[in-house]
Symmetry: C2
Subunit: 138 residues, 2 copies
DNA sequence: CATAGATGTAACATTTATAGTTACATCTAA
DNA sequence: TTAGATGTAACTATAAATGTTACATCTATG
């Protein structure tokens, strides 16, 4: 199971996007997410490093660097998840066994195909889509 | 990142499929995977519970219950990964915040789409495909 | 310019999942 | 009967995720 960072980061970005004219302190965001403000600031740091938001030390609030429609869930995923492989593969299979020798490459290939499909879908969903889900009455 | 159980389980099944006439003891499989035999037996237990293999207590070896072409990586995934959701979602977002109130449902929806795409690809790859990757010369 | 309130970040604590290990009851087959 | 397996419980070790405390530093304002 993938950690909650992706979910929380989307929550944060949706919150910022939903109040573009307010400066939301990390305490406020933390109250919405229901966690510690430092957890929020850590994630804001990662989102900033990924270029998705802008902040100023000492000054409350964070702002999106681009339109919510142009921030995909894949962007968010990559911002908060450093590992490039979704599936872990065991180390040091026996190189003297025909299966052990080639299994890592075979798994890389097979898992890669699946991961690409996941990434493709994530790249087609945006923060704006999340906002619509949140606020558009069915 | 997803645990190594899926990778190891595929390794195990490929090994069994590659030697259909041998009874491979868990010690042998463990030597190929490079881990402890009990780890292998645990995974064999899960694969058996999922109906992918057959074993007999006290008797060496496990056999596939169906053709390698009919065992998909999605089957393996579900056999060793009990959680139905790939992405974790944080608990107890603030219900008094408009974003907090609806975020879980929105994320469920968004992540579900991506997870379905992943599952689709995994279901289209079989143990037989892995064997081909391992043994067919390019 | 002092100060209240914010960010940025290090350091530590807690919890949980994963993986490895030991031990042993039980079964199979020779 | 006995050697060699499986099945499984129980314990250990390790790592990752999350929560928390503390504090340096910055911003804006009276």
């Amino acid at each position: 199971m993938i950690n909650t960072r992706v979910a929380v980061a989307v929550h944060i970005l949706a919150l910022i996007a939903s109040k573009p004219h307010d400066d939301l302190p990390s305490d406020y965001i933390a109250a919405s997410v229901n966690t510690n403000p430092v957890v929020i600031r850590r994630l804001l740091g990662m989102l900033k490093k990924a270029g998705l938001i802008q902040t100023t030390a000492g000054k409350a609030g964070a702002s999106l660097t681009r339109d919510p429609a142009d921030i995909s869930l894949l962007d968010v995923f990559h911002a908060v998840e450093p590992k490039e492989s979704l599936f872990a593969i065991h180390d040091n299979p026996n190189p003297h066994c025909p299966v052990g020798k080639g299994i890592q490459r075979a798994l890389d290939e097979a898992f890669g195909v699946a991961q690409d499909a996941l990434a493709c879908k994530l790249s087609s969903e945006s923060i704006e889509d999340i906002l619509h889900q949140l606020f558009d009455k069915a």
